[in-house]
Every structure is written in structure tokens, then in C-alpha cells.
């Protein structure tokens, strides 16, 4: 079945630096979702993208869906210590609504 790959696996940044995580697929995706999981916590839904070339913003977070719908990115501007956690992209399957998650990017922010 379809899989999504995420890079990088880990990212250390200094507080105030920007951060980007990428999600890639070899096949066209119908949608992509992004989740954040704090250390010791559970995944929390951030956003869903469905349209080719779509860009959505939530405060310092910018989400993009590629023109070919084979990749997506999450960009955080001026990271803060509260951004620490693992960011997952996930594909929502049309039949059944179950999610297929990428491996995640773990973000660590040095104050």
C-alpha cells in the first residue's frame, strides 16, 4: 500500500531558528495530514491538505502540499521551546479513514 517517508529523522535547532520537515511519497496522495506529538504525549491533529499546491498557515507554522501531490512540508518560523516534539505526516485512507503515518521528525529546540 501507499507509504509516506519523512526526513529528517531528527533536527536540533537553536531557539529562534527555522525548521522544516518533509514528507514524500512515490505515488500521488489524495490528502496529507500533519500531527504533533509532544514527548510522552499523544498525536494531536494539526491540519489536512487536499489540493494540489495548497498552502495553509497557522501562526508560525506553514504547511504545503506539492503540485504533484507527492510531497508535503511543514515549516516552523522562529522556533520556540514549546515547538519541541515529533511531527508526523499521515495519509488518510479513503476506505475506512485509518491513518498511515510517516516515521516522524523529532524536533529539539535549544533555549
Amino acid at each position: 500500500g501507499q507509504q509516506v517517508m519523512q526526513i529528517p529523522q531528527y533536527q536540533h535547532v537553536q531557539e529562534g531558528e527555522d525548521f522544516t520537515t518533509y514528507c514524500n511519497s512515490s505515488t500521488t496522495l489524495s490528502n496529507i495530514q500533519w500531527y504533533k506529538q509532544r514527548p510522552g504525549g499523544h498525536p494531536v491533529f494539526l491540519i489536512q491538505l487536499v489540493k494540489s499546491g495548497e498552502v495553509k498557515k497557522q501562526k508560525r507554522l506553514t504547511f504545503q502540499f506539492g503540485e504533484a501531490k507527492k510531497n508535503s512540508s511543514l515549516h516552523i518560523t522562529a522556533t520556540q521551546t514549546t515547538d519541541v516534539g515529533t511531527y508526523f505526516c499521515a495519509l488518510l485512507r479513503n476506505a475506512g479513514n485509518m491513518l498511515t503515518f510517516g516515521g516522524g521528525t523529532r524536533l529539539m529546540v535549544k533555549p
Binding site: 490528502n31 499523544h42 489536512q48 508526523f88 499521515a90 488518510l92 475506512g96 479513514n97 485509518m98
Partner: protein
């Protein structure tokens, strides 16, 4: 609280023991999902219910895993004869109606098999 709740939060089992993990979804949510999350990995789908019907159990790793949702609300994931490779966090998520897309996850049950 209005969120998804799971119990127990932590479970230590000796290899060969049976365990039962409980999920209370958000009231009125039609769909319920179980995921398994190994350390440092993304969650992996196990099984899915719509009301009381188990519509997909393709992700269950073996016949030692069994899930039920008899009245369409609370669900139980049972693992028989636990093995060390079953050690993981088991996450439950609920979805308001079929066709909606935001899944609400519970805090998970961390299972450690010794």
C-alpha cells in the same frame, strides 16, 4: 473530560500473560481506531470499528490480538500470551462521523512485556 480516555496508562506483563486495554472514545463518536506505536516510530494501524462493527482488522499482527466494541462505545483490545515484541504504546483514536477527518487520540497505554 471530553477527550478520549484509555486505561490503564501503564501495564507491565510477564511474557505469556494476557492483557486487556480499554478505550473510552469521545461520546457520540462513531468510528474508533486502535494503533500500535513502537518506540521512536510512527503509529501503525491495527483495527477499526464503525459503531459496534469491526470493519477492518488487517493491521492486527497475529491471532493473539483481538478487539471488540460490543455496544458501539467502549472498546477493548486484548492481547493473549504476550510476547516481548508486543511492548509498545497502544493508542486509541475516535472520529465523529464517517467522512470527517480529524481523529482524536487518547493518551495511550504503554505496555511493557518482561
Amino acid at each position: 473530560g471530553a477527550g478520549v480516555s484509555q486505561s490503564p496508562r501503564y501495564k507491565v506483563a510477564k511474557r505469556g500473560q494476557d492483557v486487556a486495554l480499554r478505550c473510552d472514545p469521545i461520546s457520540g463518536h462513531v468510528s474508533l481506531f486502535w494503533y500500535q506505536q513502537a518506540l521512536g516510530q510512527g503509529p501503525e494501524f491495527l483495527t477499526y470499528f464503525q459503531n459496534e462493527a469491526q470493519l477492518d482488522k488487517s493491521g492486527l499482527p497475529s491471532d493473539r490480538f483481538f478487539a471488540e466494541r460490543p455496544e458501539g462505545s467502549v472498546s477493548t483490545l486484548k492481547i493473549q500470551r504476550t510476547q516481548q515484541e508486543d511492548s509498545a504504546v497502544y493508542l486509541c483514536a475516535s472520529l465523529k462521523v464517517a467522512g470527517s477527518y480529524e481523529q482524536y487520540f487518547g493518551p495511550g497505554t504503554r505496555l511493557t512485556v518482561t
